[in-house]
């Protein structure tokens, strides 16, 4: 009740606050940009004054952690509140929102911008942000998932990482490298609830075990033998050889552990490499090797994810908004970050031209190719055993998945914390999923 009230008050305040800002043209107007507070985005925010000086457009950033940013952006866009002129969304939202008519088609804007070169985007990323072959969001960075491992610890234990590891091999390595006395966990895997947190790595594991969320007739398959096998594997691996406090560890918590030398392996987003190899944040620079996402039954298992920028249909000054987005996603920006902050901090996985820059190739020698390969291989034919009726690899590309995924991830973290058995967790999750599946059966 109070929450709705505050939302109501905030929206009305914001609406009136922005009403005075959207003047005609681009001179002296103010853009409000909702953005996720990840490291690469923070670099963009600190470089933004250059853009303001060059164009005279004032920028106001609303930067929040992923979950809160998503909730705010979704609520604002779905209710067409118009608080934001530019929103940061992912390949989960972009196609759905474009289909709902909430986003501006960016093709005309891109065509009218000389030198923007949208043909330079990696094809799988471009497709994932398109609806009916039109792009509705432009990617800022793209990622797949892969496995970071400490070469020095492997050498000490006399182990070698195969070129294409399987999950069983990884579990064996984790058992051998797990060193409680030294405070080094065998592997760090996410257990923090959230559909974009623990469910992302977990769903890629489920996929490669041959499991799926729904079969092509929208029957939920969370209690299938494959899904049970995958869930038991994931939960047991964390419980036996994972990090302490796993049920509340997400991407940043695992990142802290790995860069402080408290984990021997870490399976997560490819963007982690930038932080792992950055001397200002990591104690283990240069000690990591990067292997492709481990597999069981499929050829590949990496996910596909991208943070991108879009313009809500109701935004007032779309030209100024596009100007800013073009600045943040073009080739010149990559150069600027590389020269200002170092090449490890360049937003990866979006433009093919980034990978031909000699400086970048040198700085990212350890992970540039695994990242690019992972993104190129990230399509449903390669990472899934059976056909599914939904888009997405590490998520189910339907609107209900935010809620469903969050509920299932809560069950998963309860199993990781040992508060409930994996079977019970899956049974409860199956009920949730079947309710959602039924609503799609009715549609067909």
């Amino acid at each position: 009740m109070r929450k709705l009230l505050t939302l109501f008050a905030a929206t009305s305040l914001l609406a009136t606050g922005c009403a005075g800002a959207g003047s005609v043209g681009t001179g002296g107007s103010t853009l409000v940009i909702a953005i996720v507070a990840n490291p690469q985005m923070k670099d963009a925010i600190s470089l933004a004054p250059e853009f303001e000086k060059a164009t005279g457009i004032n920028l106001k950033f609303v930067s929040l952690p992923e979950n809160q940013a998503r909730a705010k952006i979704t609520a604002s866009t779905a209710t067409e509140g118009g608080e934001f002129d530019v929103v940061m969304i992912s390949n989960y939202e972009a196609p759905q929102w474009a289909a709902n008519g909430w986003l501006e088609n960016l093709e005309p804007h891109m065509a009218a911008t000389p030198g923007y070169d949208e043909g330079d985007f990696i094809p799988s990323i471009k497709t994932s942000l398109s609806y009916q072959n039109q792009m509705y969001a432009v990617p800022f960075y793209g990622e797949s998932s892969f496995l970071a491992y400490r070469k020095d610890l492997f050498e000490k234990a006399g182990l070698t990482m195969p070129a294409k590891p399987t999950w069983q091999q990884i579990a064996d390595f984790a058992a051998k490298l797990d060193d409680k006395a030294d405070g080094v966990a065998g592997i760090c895997l996410r257990g923090k609830p959230g559909w974009g947190e623990s469910l992302a790595p977990f769903t890629t594991v489920a996929n490669t075990f041959g499991a799926q969320w729904f079969d092509k007739d929208w029957n939920a398959k969370l209690t299938s033998p494959e899904f049970k096998e995958a869930a038991n594997f994931y939960v047991n691996l964390i419980r036996d050889h994972g990090e302490v406090g796993a049920s509340s560890a997400g991407f940043s918590e695992c990142g802290t552990r790995y860069t402080q030398g408290n984990a021997a392996m870490w399976y997560d987003a490819t963007v982690m490499a930038g932080t792992n190899e950055d001397p200002s944040s990591s104690k283990i620079v240069g000690k990591s090797g990067y292997a492709p996402a481990p597999v069981v039954k499929t050829q590949a298992s990496g996910w596909l994810y991208t943070w991108a920028l879009g313009i809500p249909k109701v935004a007032k000054d779309k030209d100024a908004a596009w100007k800013f987005m073009a600045w943040m996603t073009d080739k010149a920006y990559v150069q600027k970050v590389g020269q200002t902050y170092g090449w490890n901090r360049v937003p990866p996985g979006v433009r093919q031209s980034t990978y031909t820059i000699p400086d970048y190739a040198k700085a990212a020698a350890a992970y540039a190719k695994p990242t690019l390969d992972g993104i190129a291989d990230a399509n449903q034919q390669k990472v899934m055993a059976n056909p599914v009726p939904y888009p997405g690899i590490q998520f189910v590309g339907i609107p209900e998945f935010q809620d469903l995924g969050t509920r299932v991830s809560q069950q998963l973290s309860a199993a990781i914390a040992g508060r409930e058995s994996v079977d019970d967790a899956l049974k409860q999750s199956q009920d949730y999923a079947q309710t959602v599946g039924d609503s799609y059966k009715a549609v067909q």
Binding site: K3, L5, N100, V244, S247, S248, T406, A417
Partner: protein, 310 residues
């Protein structure tokens, strides 16, 4: 209208005049208050009516065109939702335990502070501090500096790398809330203790009553209304706890530390399920009303009793 009254014209006219005058004075009195009343209704009752209206609809924000009238379906779903019942139970446990523990600790501290000793002012200020810290800051303090398995104070003191927040999520949240609300209870009870008449206490010691006897037979009855007020106010605030849960455990692991306000927030701002979350909101309001009415009645009844607690 055919009138059957046997009023004389005179008295009738008199009554009319009286009525008119009464109305006008009443109106004169109430008119200046009208803007405030309208404002209060606009900001409290209209949103609530809207919430009731939404609660009869199936409406998911992220599925355009999904909005349609479903009658009482949402309410049926809410009561058959296992998570809702878990959240309800957690809310009850959290409220009862936190209020009682904070009350007892507050009572103890108030009794200690009721005597004169060197540096009493400093001690009192230090004890009140947790209540003055922003709830969000307090929750983060507890999450990182106390409970963190690698960097926390508890890890440093006990040497275990137990992950408190995933082993005892609800207890950890309750510890933070108790820490925050004990000073509030302490202040109320201290006010009660300092309003005791010294003569009665002296008379008791002249009659040969020991400390314990004096406390049980004189101080506690005197304090009973202060204790009730502290309980009621504490319960009203603690039922709505949100910051501690949001910042410390995110309702997890699983739903082990999810209470009703947090669950409604999740359904509304992560699930975007307007109908479901509205229905839950309405149910919570009704439950709170029932409990509050019951508690208030109990309080007024004990207020009117002069004997106090035996």
């Amino acid at each position: 209208m055919s009138t059957l009254s046997v009023d004389t014209p005179k008295s009738h006219a008199h009554a009319k005049a009286e009525e008119k005058r009464g109305l006008s004075t009443a109106a004169k009195r109430r008119l200046p208050l009208l803007p405030a009343l309208i404002f209060v209704i606009a900001v409290t009752q209209l949103p609530f009516l809207l919430t009731v209206f939404y609660s009869f609809q199936s409406w998911n924000l992220v599925r355009p065109g999904s909005r349609h009238f479903v009658g009482l379906d949402n309410y049926i779903d809410v009561f058959s939702d296992a998570t809702f019942l878990v959240a309800l139970l957690n809310t009850v446990v959290l409220t009862v335990v936190c209020v009682l523990v904070a009350l007892l600790l507050g009572l103890g501290l108030a009794i200690l502070l009721d005597r004169k000793f060197f540096g009493r002012g400093v001690v009192r200020t230090l004890l009140i501090t947790p209540f003055l810290i922003l709830p969000a800051a307090g929750a983060l303090l507890w999450k990182t500096t106390m409970f963190d398995p690698t960097y926390g104070l508890l890890h440093f003191v006990f040497g275990t790398d137990l992950d408190w927040l995933s082993e005892f999520p609800l207890a950890a949240v309750m510890a933070q809330i108790v820490w925050q609300w004990t000073p509030f209870m302490m202040l109320l009870i201290l006010a009660g203790l300092q309003s005791q008449s010294k003569e009665v206490l002296e008379a008791a010691s002249v009659d040969g009553a020991g400390r314990w006897r004096t406390f049980v037979s004189i101080t506690l009855p005197h304090l009973s209304r202060f204790l009730q007020l502290a309980t009621l106010l504490g319960a009203i605030y603690i039922v709505n706890s949100f910051d501690a849960i949001f910042l410390m455990t995110q309702g997890g692991p699983g739903t082990a530390s999810t209470n009703l306000p947090y669950y409604i927030y999740q359904r509304a701002f992560e699930g975007f399920d307007v109908g479901q979350s509205s229905a839950m909101g309405v149910i919570v309001v009704i439950l709170t009303m029932i409990v509050a009415t019951f508690a208030l009645r109990l309080m007024f009844r004990t207020f009117s009793v002069s004997g106090g607690v035996k």
